[in-house]
Symmetry: C2
Subunit: 200 residues, 2 copies
């Protein structure tokens, strides 16, 4: 499944015993509030989720998907979505690329690891080589495209994270070397976002 549709939820009823006696408190030996069942003691942990995706390349072209689901339906993204249980982050990136663009890829390395604390997400974007130029929209895509750097639809990108990843890639191309980038996408007060990279 694609990015953005799976937000953290509060526990209203205990998922272990069904009791409605759920309270928000700091469990013993912990240091932050959790949803805790006062009937059976079950503690409900919510943690950030990993979104895995591919910077998938065919020759000098980049694979983009036009989203067919909310949020940001109709805008362009890299193939990416929630990492699932039992898979590696690279597996997830490969699977999402197949699901969203019907494109088979080989991961050649990590490209970017970006935390989004306001969204409780961590993006792991992998460099990937398409095994052929074939691509076609999956159910979550309106269309897919292989674009040259000059053809990137900058004003129609779905997420700031995708824009930053593509900007980093173009800068790397100019410098003639692909590096691994790690950092954070921070939400400013006005709603704008800002990229803060760790030193290389």
């Amino acid at each position: 499944m694609s990015a953005g549709v799976r937000s953290a939820v509060d526990m209203q009823f205990c998922m272990q015993c069904g009791s409605g006696a759920v309270e928000r408190r700091i469990p013993e030996l912990d240091n932050r509030p959790r949803d805790v069942c006062s009937a059976c003691g079950h503690i409900h942990y919510e943690n950030p989720r990993v979104i895995a995706g591919c910077l998938a390349l065919w020759q000098d072209r980049i694979l983009l998907c036009k989203r067919n689901i909310d949020p940001r339906m109709g805008l362009w993204s890299l193939p990416a979505g929630f990492m699932e249980s039992g898979e590696t982050a690279a597996d997830a990136a490969i699977r999402e690329t197949l699901e969203e663009a019907n494109s088979r890829v080989e991961v050649t390395g990590l490209y970017a690891l970006l935390s989004l604390p306001h969204a409780d997400q961590v993006y792991a974007i992998y460099r990937a080589r398409m095994l052929g130029p074939e691509c076609a929209p999956g159910v979550e895509s309106q269309s897919v495209a292989l674009v040259t750097p000059e053809q990137i639809p900058w004003d129609q990108l779905a997420f700031a994270t995708i824009r930053y990843t593509l900007e980093l890639y173009l800068a790397d191309l100019q410098h003639g070397v692909l590096r691994i980038h790690a950092g954070d996408v921070l939400r400013e007060d006005g709603g704008a976002s800002r990229l803060r990279l760790h030193a290389a």
Copy 2:
């Protein structure tokens, strides 16, 4: 909180409406089984969790923590633990280092990103510079130590992931350059683990 104590749980009762009519099925537009409430339709997603930690250095010494909690109590680890909502992975690594070793660090970059599909975990280990040599055990540590590479207790390390990270670091030291490493820690049939790195 430290690594290893927060495993995925099935939803026995719906956490939104309290119904016991929870079934394991593939939701519409999805492609894998989830716990779904047949009373209210709530879908319970379980996703891998991120464990963030530091390869924290003071001069040529590495900060290690002897675990005071299960699993692997009494064995040595890097300071690391579950990334929490609202923080970045690097924030989490810094916080865990403070909680487990009472040591303040500055993250200088990503060091390793390792998926553990058998455990539904992704380890994000950051290079960090200790702001001073001070360290002392937090509540989840029996003791802490600043060790030279020669002093690493290889036969008393808590997790394969930690061993691989330290091995990568020593290899990098030999080559004179610290690189970012990404890959997977895979569990073999016999229970042994194997490191599979993406090409650099």
